[in-house]
């Protein structure tokens, strides 16, 4: 029997095929609930989910909030505008305060890479990574895979082209780990400034020519281009980026028939994706949003409904002061 034994969901790098399948299968059950008139089950009644967001994100936060609510968990929203390096209470201290107030799961988004990993090591509660720095955004990749699987039945052998800022792109990273584990072929495409050549060592194919990257693709996942990157010389202008890496109807023809066009949102119309492509029959962008709730419900269920004792016990709380020898 496939079961979920992890305390946390921090990323997909070391997650097995069985675990991913378990989440996706559970998500299918959760999706059925969304089609009901009463879109709510009592599963996590009395549990408290805290959304701890150190980086603004309306979409991900709303999705998690609805997911938790549909499982009848109580939700607390904490959005701190403070930048990562502002000194103050540490993340771990904040989380321990939340813990003693009766929190059952922490959903963390942080601009610092590895912040959820650090927290997970220091707290007994399950931690869900809702995006950390330039590292991973596992729930987005899971919902992407769920959407692909719904349409294609499987991920095995599919060609998935991911276009955009792969270097900083946590969605790209999580998709890479998840898709490779599930047997898909992953292509990364973008300007060389935004696609790290070392990615090749992980087993993905690197393209700088969009047309070639689209050729024969089953899925095209267009990443949102951050306008801030322009100022750091990753590319000269939005206009030029759009001309070279924007997905047009014309380019889409090179893909396999029945290609799925995806985007983690929010989309920049006519920048990375032309309006008509975003609204075309190939586009599953809104389905992704719907599926996001199912996948997040599944993860919350798997992480929170197990007994606390199954969580990785911290060996011991580190002493506040270590003795100095001598």
């Amino acid at each position: 029997m496939r079961v979920w034994r992890r305390k946390d969901c921090l990323g997909l790098r070391d997650v097995s095929r069985d675990e991913i399948e378990l989440v996706l299968d559970t998500a299918r059950t959760m999706k059925e609930i969304q089609s009901r008139t009463i879109k709510k089950v009592p599963t996590l009644r009395g549990k408290v989910a805290v959304l701890l967001f150190y980086e603004p994100s309306t979409r991900t936060r709303t999705s998690f909030e609805l997911s938790a609510t549909r499982l009848s968990a109580d939700v607390v929203n904490i959005e701190t505008a403070t930048s990562s390096v502002v000194k103050g209470e540490t993340l771990v201290d904040t989380a321990h305060n939340l813990r003693v107030m009766g929190t059952d799961v922490i959903i963390l988004r942080h601009s610092i890479t590895g912040a959820p990993h650090h927290l997970a090591e220091h707290i007994e509660l399950p931690v869900i990574n809702a995006g950390d720095g330039t590292n991973e955004h596992p729930t987005q990749a899971l919902l992407d895979m769920f959407t692909i699987r719904e349409h294609k039945g499987t991920l095995d052998g599919l060609v998935v082209t991911i276009v955009g800022d792969v270097l900083h792109g946590r969605v790209a990273h999580s998709n890479m780990w998840g898709l490779l584990t599930m047997g898909a072929k992953v292509r990364f495409c973008g300007p060389p400034t935004l696609v790290n050549p070392q990615m090749k060592d992980m087993g993905v194919e690197i393209y700088h020519d969009l047309d070639a990257a689209i050729e024969g693709a089953d899925v095209i996942n267009m990443l949102r281009i951050q306008k801030e990157r322009m100022t750091r010389n990753f590319f000269p202008s939005i206009k030029e980026y759009s001309r070279i890496y924007g997905l047009t109807m014309e380019r889409l023809k090179r893909a396999k028939p029945g290609v799925l066009v995806m985007h983690p949102g929010p989309i920049n119309r006519n920048v990375e994706i032309m309006s008509d492509v975003a609204d075309s029959d190939s586009s599953v962008i809104l389905e992704q949003v719907t599926n996001g709730i199912a996948v997040r419900m599944a993860l919350l269920y798997l992480l929170v409904s197990g007994e606390k004792e199954s969580s990785k016990k911290l060996d011991e709380t580190p002493p506040l002061f270590e003795e100095i020898n001598g």
Binding site: G114, N135, H168, N196
Partner: protein, 425 residues
């Protein structure tokens, strides 16, 4: 006072001596050594089965005082040194305030006189306030006792400033230590750019950020005739460049640190902040090149870059944790175990990398056993097998990736200026 250490296996790298002998210390100097040597006035110490060699000289140490006494002080740092068999250290200038003038150097000297237990040679900054803009008063700092200059921790980014520093330093012939890092390429980066940074989703520091500055400083040293010393060399390309310019006669010297020889970027797995240092841990190929560099003399010596940080500092999100690890108490055990396995050198050649060779780089006394030389020495017990335990460190800090490593041999006693300073009484 005279001390006679009897029946020790005396190892002196400089003269390639390796013989069981008696060593006579007279005051703060070595008086003589010979088999069967005796002196009726001397206090006798039996060292049968033990080794005796010059005290280690670590030319790259952060003692953190003044300004960061929570991490280390001259008191705790020099005790850590003594416990590790290190009898002399060069302390880096990136304190708060930085050691960028005569008063700063004098402060260090005073604190060492009051609280230190090994020799401490101050390094001054090369620019005022370590800002990389204006030349610091090298002359007055040398008068106060500075032995070299470096903005270690922050590279001098302005090429013209670096040129002036090197030109000016030729008045004194004092080594200028380059912190070889092009900061425009490493901003907001926390580890090596490579496979591991991809795995951890981090933007890495490219190796070129190191080698580009090494190339620049070698070219400038060639032009000016100054002595450039490269701190913590970590890449293959750096080794290649230094070798090339050394062969052309440029006055360049270089050091690497034990962690670059023993660890790779893989050690960062799991966001391990005790594997976070600058320059970052690199790859296997770099390790191999560093080994080759040591064997052919391109790299002159090993220094620890002892960089203490408190538990609290290091127990943070990886990008927030500061760079660096402690090294004084692990240098000698690692050298005679894991580093020996890497370098496959005889004991004398190994010891040479941390005794007479660093002394020569920084023009320091010591590092040799010879009549009239300073009586700074280590008595080493080669037998005990033990594991490195950070909780037993005398340093104020615990940030080491070598915790739990098995080693053989232990410092039995450390002498500075003829006096036993370790074990502590």
């Amino acid at each position: 006072m005279k001390t006679l250490i009897q029946n020790a296996r005396v190892l002196d790298p400089a003269s390639r001596t390796d013989q069981v002998m008696n060593v006579l210390l007279d005051g703060d100097r070595i008086a003589a050594f010979a088999p069967g040597l005796s002196d009726p006035e001397a206090v006798c110490v039996d060292a049968t089965g033990l080794w005796l060699f010059p005290g280690l000289i670590d030319i790259h140490v952060h003692l953190r005082e003044p300004g960061f006494e929570g991490k280390e002080t001259i008191y705790t740092g020099t005790r850590a040194a003594a416990a590790g068999g290190v009898t002399a250290v060069c302390c880096m200038a990136n304190t708060n305030p930085p050691i960028d003038n005569k008063t700063g150097v004098e402060f260090i000297q005073e604190r060492v006189a009051k609280t230190g237990c090994v020799r401490v040679y101050p390094i001054g900054t090369v620019t005022k306030g370590m800002e990389g803009k204006e030349l610091a008063p090298l002359g007055e700092m040398i008068e106060a006792g500075a032995v070299g200059f470096s903005d270690d921790g922050r590279g001098v980014m302005d090429t013209q400033v670096m040129r002036r520093i090197l030109e000016y330093s030729t008045i004194f012939g004092t080594p200028i230590i380059s912190h070889e890092e092009d900061h425009s390429m490493t901003e907001n980066c926390h580890m090596n750019e490579g496979q591991m940074s991809v795995k951890l989703g981090m933007i890495g520091m490219p190796r070129e950020a190191e080698t580009i500055i090494i190339a620049r400083d070698l070219i400038l040293a060639g032009k000016t005739g100054a002595h450039i010393h490269f701190a913590h060399v970590s890449t293959k390309e750096s080794v290649d460049l230094i070798r090339f310019y050394k062969n052309k006669g440029v006055k360049a010297t270089a050091e690497t640190a034990p962690h670059y020889l023993l660890l790779t970027e893989e050690a960062v797995e799991g966001f391990n902040t005790n594997a976070k240092m600058n320059p970052p841990l690199r790859t296997r190929e770099d390790q191999d090149a560093l080994v080759e560099g040591i064997l052919d003399g391109t790299i002159d010596c090993i220094a620890t870059d002892h960089a203490p940080h408190s538990v609290y500092d290091k127990d943070q999100e990886f990008p927030l944790a500061p760079f660096g690890i402690v090294g004084l108490e692990t240098l000698l055990p690692l050298l005679l175990n894991q580093i020996q396995e890497k370098l496959k050198l005889d004991v004398l050649s190994l010891l040479s990398l941390v005794t007479n060779k660093p002394a020569r780089v920084m023009r320091l006394p010591g590092g040799v056993l010879a009549p009239g030389a300073p009586a700074d020495l280590v008595v080493w017990n080669p037998d005990p097998k033990w594991t490195i335990e950070k909780s037993r460190f005398y340093s104020k800090s615990r940030n080491t990736p070598f915790d739990g490593w098995p080693v053989q041999g232990k410092v039995h006693a450390t002498y500075v200026a003829g006096k036993p300073v370790y074990p502590f009484t």
